[in-house]
């Protein structure tokens, strides 16, 4: 019996008439940016986008904007932005990279954890202007098109989450905790993962996930993404 699609892997992709409920008069910001990036790359020029939220630039005083060049998930970008913009709001509201979450907006919960260079940081406490010249990696840049990062696969296997809202931040932290060799014992893992609050209380699964990657106990098959997740 054939199973044409991997049902059940993406509940949002079924029964979801997005085109009906969204006023899709213009391309979405993210698609626009991507298109701009690709087009510019083809010409050998740095991509350029004036990021003014999704609103009208006419109401903004552009001379006050700051210009930055940065690389996000491997894509070089150049942009002008409101200097008040946090890295988290830049990612979520302007680039459509909503994987990093806003839980407290003051560096207390860790849901917005991303990597800047070799560090894990709270994107809500970082002004977007501070990433000028830096490389940013978000959860969207983790793993490959075909495969999960081992930490992602481990979180699935060990149920290291429930609602999923802290999960991006937990995974971004866990990757660095492992890379930085802070996963020597359960107590060490717990301590170094304590900047990321999980209100559902999936801490046991989170510790098990980190240990599974440390000890390399994951089934390689667990890394394979389902069809609908490949990118």
């Amino acid at each position: 019996m054939s199973n044409p699609k991997p049902y059940n892997t993406d509940p949002t992709e079924v029964g979801w008439p997005e085109e009906e409920s969204l006023v899709n008069a213009t391309v979405s910001r993210r698609n626009f940016l991507r298109a701009a990036t690709l087009a510019a790359a083809g010409l050998g020029l740095a991509p350029y986008a004036t990021l003014t939220g999704q609103g009208s630039a006419a109401t903004l005083d552009l001379q006050d904007f700051v210009e930055i060049e940065t690389t996000i998930n491997g894509e070089a970008m150049k942009m002008k932005l409101d200097p008040r913009t946090s890295l988290l709001d830049l990612l979520r509201e302007q680039l459509g990279l909503t994987g990093a979450k806003k839980g407290c907006n003051q560096g207390a919960c860790g849901a917005c954890t991303v990597h800047v260079g070799t560090d894990r940081i709270n994107a809500c406490l970082t002004l977007a202007a501070q990433i000028d010249g830096k490389e940013v990696t978000t959860i969207e840049g983790i793993g490959s098109a075909e495969e999960f990062h081992p930490v992602q696969a481990a979180f699935l296997e060990h149920d290291g989450f429930q609602c999923g809202y802290c999960t991006s931040g937990q995974i971004m932290s866990a990757i660095k905790v492992l890379e930085d060799d802070h996963a020597g014992s359960d107590a060490e893992i717990r301590e170094w993962m304590s900047g990321n609050i999980c209100r559902c209380g999936a801490y046991k699964g989170i510790v098990e996930s980190v240990k599974a990657v440390r000890d390399n106990t994951l089934d390689p098959q667990a890394l394979q993404k389902g069809e609908s997740l490949k990118r």
Partner: protein
């Protein structure tokens, strides 16, 4: 299969950051809104510098009581079955009732502009704050009849008692702090409204929104595919979900309403501080003859909610004389409301600590005391419990924990310079069921689609519904497509009160049974069917194959022969469109879940620092639907109990302002707090209660754990701290 430890089907989206929560939908040219809240708790708004703020860059509109469009208030008599937070509809007058009430909404082109402009709003009030002390609840209180109950004669029990324990236990106000802040996007197309919201009750939000905006229900579509935790804060309907559509309607563009973490401390409910006076009366042989449980708390001015701490006291032990009375005082504070395990969490804490004190007083083992006073039927109405395996929970939990080795005398066990203690508590939560409806669609490939306006708040509904439906249909759960989180589907019940799986799962099973009959009827009437001419009763489905009369074929063939792409069936319960479902009252049973929690406490005698090295809990919750996901929920619940015992407290000042309204000052458990935890469950199906035998597991982990920890700390130190949280200063 039901019970299998299947990995979450929505997990891949969550670990890749692709699961979309309310504020993450791309809408065209949205405006951003932030709410400005009142700084006082009474009086009226006299002036507001709206024109000044509207002149700031990017600001499109400041919406407030003077320029708002009219919205329809909720009926004050409770009719209509709307489950609201505080019942207030924003901006409809200038009156202020609590600190944190929405006074103005600033709408701007960008989030940065909205946030800055919001900070520039200046409001003049007619009055300063009046006193609203959440501790001043011992006078001017009321106690409506619905908040009182007595069986037997408690006064006589008290008078005749050999031993009486009489103590006051205090649980402070607490906030849910779901990690996803309540926020939403609203967009209008003519008189049709779509909202991307975060809710534990899609159907309720649809009905409430339609009411407020005077729309037919079908004109309102609530989409809530992923919810970043709720814990009670997102089931009732609050102003947040009215503000975004209000603004979007007034400015004619989609609006993204960004609430803040601080807003969550005033605008989505909380557990109120409750003073609980417990009296346990009994004999030296361990017979408890009477329990009295009187609580003093507060509610908001409109008195929409009271914390029913005494409900568990009414049913947990086989005691002839029980008296429960709740009182509250109306205060100018934001409304308290359901928070994970409402009533039971703090009620069971007090009751189970009082029992521990009674056991200590008469020199009896706490487990033995509970077994001596075991209830086989509900003490108030005499109904037997639908299925009760609590005795097995005590036995199994005690064995796994090593309870028999416990040192009964407090303060005597020292390990590595730390005081060690062991405590236990019973845990319980009622089993609830609501109505519901669903649509089932079978295609020619044999894939079954289930549609219901329920939602997955992290509890695993996507996964578990597939398992339940697959089992009943006779197909693999991977061939069930679960479509939920959208009010366009048939009405669903709330993810609250531990009842979603029992409710939606039961209605789905009934629906699948009826759908199968319909399919079998079709098959035996189809001339090309291998089962043509057989009786429909002779057919079954196993592993996706329809079997009967020695022949079999794939399930989808019945659809293929029909000439249609799909066959569809809708199951409607008799209360499908009601929110306040109640089908429990007339049942011949009393429906409750039970469990036993055991905890070890380690206390530093010099610093008062408490750690909980290990906990064991065994639950009697009926059939388990998914072993992996159930364990996560139990552990998560117990961590809530841990936080309640040791960390969580919303500190209100004398005018009802939360002074620690953020995640830095409001302490929730972090990874480093949590040590060894083990859970187990009886896994006995309760078919008296639900079609699949499950009873619901969301709240019971959060109940009982706090008492087990408090009792363990007493056993370790000999100090009985009766006001939570048990912070180190209270142990020095």
């Amino acid at each position: 299969m039901i019970g299998a430890p299947k990995t979450r089907i929505d997990g891949p989206l969550k670990v890749t950051g692709r699961a979309k929560y309310a504020l993450e939908y791309a809408v065209d040219r949205p405006l951003y809104a932030v709410s400005v809240k009142s700084g006082v708790n009474t009086g009226t708004v006299v002036s507001l510098n709206a024109a000044e703020v509207e002149a700031l860059p990017g600001v499109v509109r400041v919406i407030h009581a003077v320029n708002t469009i009219k919205l329809q208030p909720f009926p004050t008599d409770g009719s209509g079955g709307y489950s609201t937070g505080d019942g207030l509809v924003p901006f409809q007058d200038t009156e202020i009732r609590f600190i944190g009430q929405d006074v103005a909404l600033v709408v701007a082109e960008t989030l940065e502009q909205a946030e800055y402009a919001g900070s520039q709003v200046k409001i003049q009030y007619s009055s300063e704050s009046t006193e609203a002390d959440t501790s001043a609840v011992f006078e001017d209180y009321i106690s409506p009849e619905r908040m009182q109950a007595e069986t037997g004669n408690m006064a006589a029990a008290r008078a005749g008692a050999e031993v009486t324990v009489e103590q006051r236990y205090v649980v402070p106000s607490e906030h849910h702090n779901a990690l996803e802040i309540s926020s939403c996007i609203a967009l209008w197309k003519g008189d049709r409204l779509t909202m991307y919201d975060t809710t534990q009750a899609v159907t309720n939000y649809q009905r409430c929104t339609a009411h407020v905006f005077g729309l037919p229900e079908e004109n309102v579509r609530i989409i809530s595919k992923f919810i970043g935790g709720g814990f009670g804060s997102k089931g009732s309907y609050w102003a947040t979900s009215m503000l975004a559509p209000l603004a979007a309607k007034m400015v004619g563009r989609p609006v993204k309403l960004h609430m803040s973490r601080q807003d969550m401390f005033t605008s989505s409910g909380h557990r109120p501080k409750v003073y609980q006076d417990l009296t346990i009366a009994g004999r030296r042989d361990g017979t408890i003859t009477g329990i009295e449980h009187v609580t003093r708390s507060y509610t908001n001015l409109d008195a929409t909610y009271f914390e029913a701490c005494g409900n568990a006291t009414k049913m947990l032990y086989g005691v002839p004389n029980i008296k429960v009375a709740h009182t509250y005082r109306k205060l100018n504070v934001s409304s308290p409301k359901y928070l994970r395990s409402p009533g039971e969490a703090n009620g069971v804490y007090a009751l189970e600590c009082a029992l521990d004190e009674f056991a200590h007083e008469i020199g009896m083992d706490p487990v033995e005391l509970r077994l001596m006073n075991y209830a086989d039927k509900h003490p108030f109405d005499g109904k037997p419990f639908s299925l009760k395996k609590l005795g097995e929970c005590y036995r199994r939990g005690g064995e796994q924990f090593g309870w028999a080795d416990r040192n009964r005398e407090p303060g005597k066990l020292v390990r590595d310079g730390k005081l060690i203690g062991h405590g236990m508590a019973t845990t319980t939560y009622p089993a609830n069921r609501g109505g519901g409806a669903c649509t089932l669609i079978l295609d020619t490939e044999g894939v079954l689609t289930f549609q219901n306006a329920i939602q997955d708040i992290g509890t695993g509904t996507y996964t578990v519904m597939g398992q339940i439906i697959g089992d009943e249909m006779g197909i693999d759960s991977d061939r069930v497509r679960v479509e939920i989180g959208d009010s366009d589907f048939p009405a669903g019940t709330v993810s609250g009160g531990s009842k979603l799986t029992a409710s939606a799962g039961s209605w789905a099973i009934i629906g699948v049974r009826n759908f199968k009959s319909k399919l079998f009827d079709m098959s035996v009437a189809q001339a090309e069917s291998p089962h043509y001419g057989l009786s429909a009763e002779d057919l079954t489905v196993e592993n996706g194959m329809v079997k009967g009369g020695g022949k079999q074929e794939p399930l989808g063939n019945i659809v293929a022969r029909s000439g249609e792409d799909t066959v569809k069936y809708t199951e409607l319960s008799q209360v499908a469109k009601e929110h306040a479902f109640s089908m429990m009252g007339d049942a011949p049973y009393s429906f409750h879940s039970f469990g036993a929690v055991f905890a070890e406490a380690e206390v530093d005698p010099d610093l008062g620092v408490v750690t909980i090295p290990r906990m064991v809990a065994v639950f009697d919750v009926g059939k388990i639907m998914n072993a992996k996901l159930a364990a996560s929920q139990f552990y998560g619940g117990m961590i809530w109990g841990y936080g309640m015992a040791l960390l969580e407290e919303s500190k209100y000042n004398e005018v009802g302002r939360v002074v620690n309204a953020d995640l830095a000052e409001y302490h929730v458990a972090v990874n480093a707090d949590i040590r060894d935890m083990k859970i187990d469950y009886i896994d006995a199906p309760d078919y008296n209660f639900s079609e699949h035998g499950g009873r619901g597991i969301g709240e019971i982990g959060a109940t009982g754990t706090s008492a087990a920890i408090a009792n363990a700390i007493f056993n370790a130190t000999g100090k009985r701290v009766r006001d939570l949280p048990i912070t180190l200063d209270k142990l020095l």
